[in-house]
Amino acid sequence: MSITLVQVIVSGLLLGAVYALFSSGLTLIWGMMNVVNFAHGDFVMLGMYAAVMIWTALGGGPFAAVPVAAMLIATLGIVSYFLLVRHIMRGPMLAQILGTFGLALFLRYSAFWYFGADFKTLPDTIVGGSFVLGGVRFEGSRVLAGGMGLAITLALHLILTRTAIGSRMLAVSEDATAAQLMGIRPQRMQALAWAMAGAATGIAGALIANFFYTSPTVGETLAIIAFVTVSFGGFGSVLGALVAGLIIGVVESLSAYLIGPVYKDVVVYILFVLVLWFRPQGLMGKA
């Protein structure tokens, strides 16, 4: 295998870990509440702006930006839950699309109004350049984002499967009424899920901002990737999102390199539809 091909696969894997990172919040909400957050991409976008602000106003790097973005977007998640999501969940599934799409437009253009239409980027000096390992070049910012992506998705997975709070959250997602009878407060658990999802999404944004451009409309680009990643992996499965993210990253990279960049989305969408044909519940979703 040529070294270039290895480089393509490595960059695909790193990209995929980032996809997994910004999809994990979406899959958590989706699995917990069967709510699709159409504003998810815009949550990521706000996380990115948080990082940009912290750099331009305070000169802080990712170590300052990550916790701040996590807290900000977690707060946004909680606020969205109590003011909006809690209420639209009582309506039909369509109300979610209506409400979260409205929220998406509102957030996207509030950012537009506040930050302007300009594309912003962080200087690539913040997260030190790149290093070569066995002839393959790794960029610091992507390795950091990819590594954090792996760590956070795994952590979310462990929280959901191995802790008391996780099993309470799962109980609510299985049957809110029964959980309530057992003394679990569903709203509190659901708000917690939004907070966790928001934090993960904020972190994703703060890390992506190191190697991607930030603009008010960037969320649109990211949201579709997140939707595909999550349904590919199976709703609610954090592990599924991770595996799906890595597969999509590598498939995109390889098809862009081997077939042509225009067709990389075509290959990913076809693969996605095929996966749903054979496994309608996604790779790791439960039927």
Binding site: W30, L94, L98, Y109, Y269
Partner: protein, 328 residues
């Protein structure tokens, strides 16, 4: 008697609207835009509202309609409207091709699969020379005959759209009251229960999807006749699909006049907010537009028409439980 009051008033108002705003091209056009939006959303409503299969990829049919219209002009020199039947036939076939694999999917999986298919078609269309690639294709620059439907005033479009919408709503009403409507409602409430009652749920979902696709395609063809241009983004873009869903959901999905009510609110809101706020370049248009959608969703999650229903607006919570897929 009372139940005919609202539709009756609506019909009268719809018929005389252009006369009321005569002399103001912007308001004439606004009327036509509302009806065009209502045609798309009402077409979506058949499968998305009545059958409860929330497609977020209906732009694929819209785009087929728009491209069919412009392709018969570009490659054959026909008036664009002549492409409308072609678009409808192709859309029915396409609906069958997409529907068979995707309609098996439950809930959000179906929505996401439809998004993926629409995006797939959008990307492919931008690489097709025949469809004008990413540049898109334009209709007749100057009207050649009256069949080019190239009018200075929007009023002829208004009445064409009104006739199409009336036909579509009539058809929907007829379906709603017939056996198929009953089946679709059963499928929407509980597919498993419907199947156990002997309803061939797959077949009826597919019928609804094909019918819905055909009329969405017609909306696309009409769009092209009015605006005279389509490119991959304005034909197959995800925003086209989302707007249909949002209009129907805002008015009331699965309700005959729901999409029309949604269009009556959203289209003027969009046009007026852009006219008054757009020129400043601060994006305020969409801040206002988004906020209003959020507020309606927050207080009337079942759509505006749920205000007039005697049934409780809020279905029992159990309905909203996941169809499949849980956190692991």
């Amino acid at each position: 008697m009372k139940r005919y009051l609202f539709p009756g008033a609506l019909v009268v108002l719809a018929l005389v609207y252009p006369l009321l705003v005569a002399g103001s091209p912007v308001w004439e056009r606004l009327g036509a835009l509302v009806l065009l939006g209502a045609i798309g959303a009402s077409a979506w409503n058949i499968v998305g509202g009545y059958a409860g299969q929330v497609s977020v990829g209906h732009s694929v049919f819209f785009g087929f309609g728009a491209y069919s219209a412009v392709v018969v002009y570009t490659h054959l020199g026909w008036p664009p409207i002549a492409g409308a039947p072609l678009g409808m036939v192709l859309s029915v076939l396409l609906a069958a091709i997409i529907g068979v694999p995707t309609l098996r999917l439950a809930g959000h999986y179906f929505s996401m699969a439809t998004i993926a298919v629409a995006e797939l078609v959008r990307v492919l269309s931008s690489t097709s020379e025949f469809l004008g690639g990413a540049q898109g294709l334009g209709g007749p620059a100057m009207p050649r005959t009256v069949f080019d439907l190239s009018f200075i005033s929007a009023t002829p479009f208004y009445y064409i759209f009104l006739a199409v919408l009336a036909f579509l709503l009539g058809l929907t009403w007829w379906i709603e009251r017939g056996r198929m409507g009953f089946y679709l409602r059963a499928i929407k409430d509980s597919e498993r229960a419907a199947r156990s009652l002997g309803v061939s749920s797959g077949r009826y979902k597919l019928y609804a999807y094909m019918l819905s696709g055909a009329f969405t395609s017609l909306a696309g063809s009409l769009y092209l006749c009015m605006f005279g241009f389509v490119d991959p983004e304005s034909g197959f873009g995800i925003l086209i699909s989302v707007k249909m869903v949002v209009m129907a959901a805002l008015g009331g999905a699965g309700v005959l006049f729901g999409p029309l009510v949604g269009a009556l609110i959203l289209v003027p809101l969009e046009e007026l907010s852009n006219s008054y706020l757009g020129g400043r370049g601060a994006g305020l248009t969409f801040v206002v537009y988004g906020a209003i959608i959020v507020i309606i969703a927050r207080f009337l999650p079942s759509g505006l028409l749920s205000l007039f229903e005697r049934r409780p607006a809020r279905p029992p919570a159990a309905k909203n439980q996941p169809a499949s897929g849980h956190a692991d």
